[in-house]
């Protein structure tokens, strides 16, 4: 496991030897094992833990657990308590989206303030398969089918090579203690349904279903990149004047006979919703 971890970091060029890394640690098995793996390397790292206060005393015990881990390894410990419910109500978004927003913006603040070069998140390769199936059910277009990337801006995912099973076996072998997540929110319910019910059925169709899907995300990712090259070309062709005061050519848009989806992807940076774009397009088509 240790060797595969270092090899994965090298192969994917996730880190340079002098990099300082912020490990984001919930206290669950994946992030705790990731912390133990980093502890055995020469990398400098600190630990960040978010307390979303969604599960009362349990949330506080998670926090204490991660704090103790940081003290044991003599690492800087960053903690922040969030009022997730309030933020979710105020911004009219789901609890999950609220937790996500709060978490990522805080991590980025920490990286700036404490000069962290990378932010490490403990996704494993089963997460790739589960996320693809959840995104498929939500209908997210190709982007949601391109997998979880090992490196994306400051974010690295250095245990993405390992399956949940391998991580469990390693934790047990090394006698690594971690916190069991007792939450049963929507996300957890969806993941469990996919993990324990849907994937085993797909494995009846294809015994190496998970590997097939991981390869499939890589293929779709290369398709997505080529798609974006062409999208950029179309974007240039319809643009009369660039941002900050963009002017687009309506006759050009109509002459290219693109679908609403393609126009939506083109206008992505301007923050329109898909139905905005459909309305715009229908209006354009109605014009003489």
């Amino acid at each position: 496991m240790r060797e595969k971890f270092l090899e994965y970091i090298t192969t994917n060029e996730l880190l340079e030897s002098n990099h300082k890394i912020l490990l984001t640690v919930s206290g669950g098995i994946d992030s705790t094992v990731m912390t133990h793996l980093f502890h055995q390397t020469d990398y400098h790292f600190g630990i960040a833990h978010c307390n979303f206060k969604l599960r009362g005393a349990e949330s506080d015990e998670d926090e204490k657990f991660v704090h103790n881990l940081a003290m044991k390894f003599k690492k800087r410990f960053h903690i922040k308590k969030f009022n997730t419910n309030e933020y979710s109500l105020k911004n009219n978004i789901s609890i999950q989206m609220a937790a996500r927003d709060l978490r990522y913006s805080w991590f980025n603040e920490l990286a700036t303030e404490f000069s962290y070069d990378r932010i490490a998140i403990a996704h494993n390769c089963d997460d790739i398969v589960e996320t693809l199936l959840i995104n498929l059910a939500r209908g997210t277009g190709i982007k949601g089918l391109t997998g979880i990337k090992p490196l994306q801006d400051l974010i690295i995912r250095p245990v993405l090579f390992a399956s949940r099973k391998e991580i469990k076996e390693y934790a047990s072998l090394e006698n690594i203690k971690y916190r069991e997540d007792s939450s049963n929110d929507d996300i957890k319910y969806q993941r469990n349904l996919v993990r324990h019910k849907i994937i085993p059925l797909f494995e009846k169709l294809n015994p190496s279903f998970s590997n097939t899907i991981i390869q499939e995300t890589e293929i779709l990712n290369s398709t997505y990149k080529v798609y974006n090259q062409e999208l950029k070309r179309i974007g240039d062709a319809i643009t009369i004047q660039k941002a900050p005061n963009p002017i687009l050519s309506i006759p050009k848009i109509l002459s290219l006979r693109m679908t609403s989806q393609v126009l939506y992807d083109l206008l992505d940076e301007y923050g329109f919703t898909f139905s905005d774009v459909q309305n715009i397009y229908n209006t354009l088509e109605g014009e003489p």
Copy 2:
């Protein structure tokens, strides 16, 4: 149902009023209902039935059923018996692929010989969702996720708008008799698993899962078209001399840093397998 059927044909420009259509009829519910729907229109049509001789006496009774249907409606009846097992062994392909090959090449022959303008196949909209999930499990890249098209060369699928449930209700309402398919081959087993086990679980994640997937195939189809535009551009850029004696530029291929998948899609017309292309690419990269 009748109105929706005609509307679907018009909206998707599947037929012109003077078109002669070859209906491909197995005798199952979908194709039998399709035949009854066409019988109520002014379109000229003939009926083709393939006897794959895979289920003994039952295959012969299916043939008789479709023959009777054609006689009742006073339509030309085309029948062909295939030795599917032999063809499958001889060409080293699965029974399903063999049946598919034999079927389509015969339909095209009939179209030429008897001047049919279109070949009608009775896929319904549940087939779209099931096919996407089966292709996903097989890992077919984006092409396998772009859905079943209402119109493709000579092929039309005029009942693609209807769900299996709607077709059943219509058959029962109109007292339409059809043959139950008792086969239990691989395809049937896969379809039943997807239909009765996997889709109901996805519906727990998203109650309108099937509609979401149908929209998703349309979105992915528009992505696929844009991808192919760019692919064509890349193909032109690496081509020194065109077919029939194509010469491709190796330095160009390497400089574009494309993935094996993109190269594979580019070389599609030359009939390489994916592992051929990976080998070619690895060899190219090893060259000075």
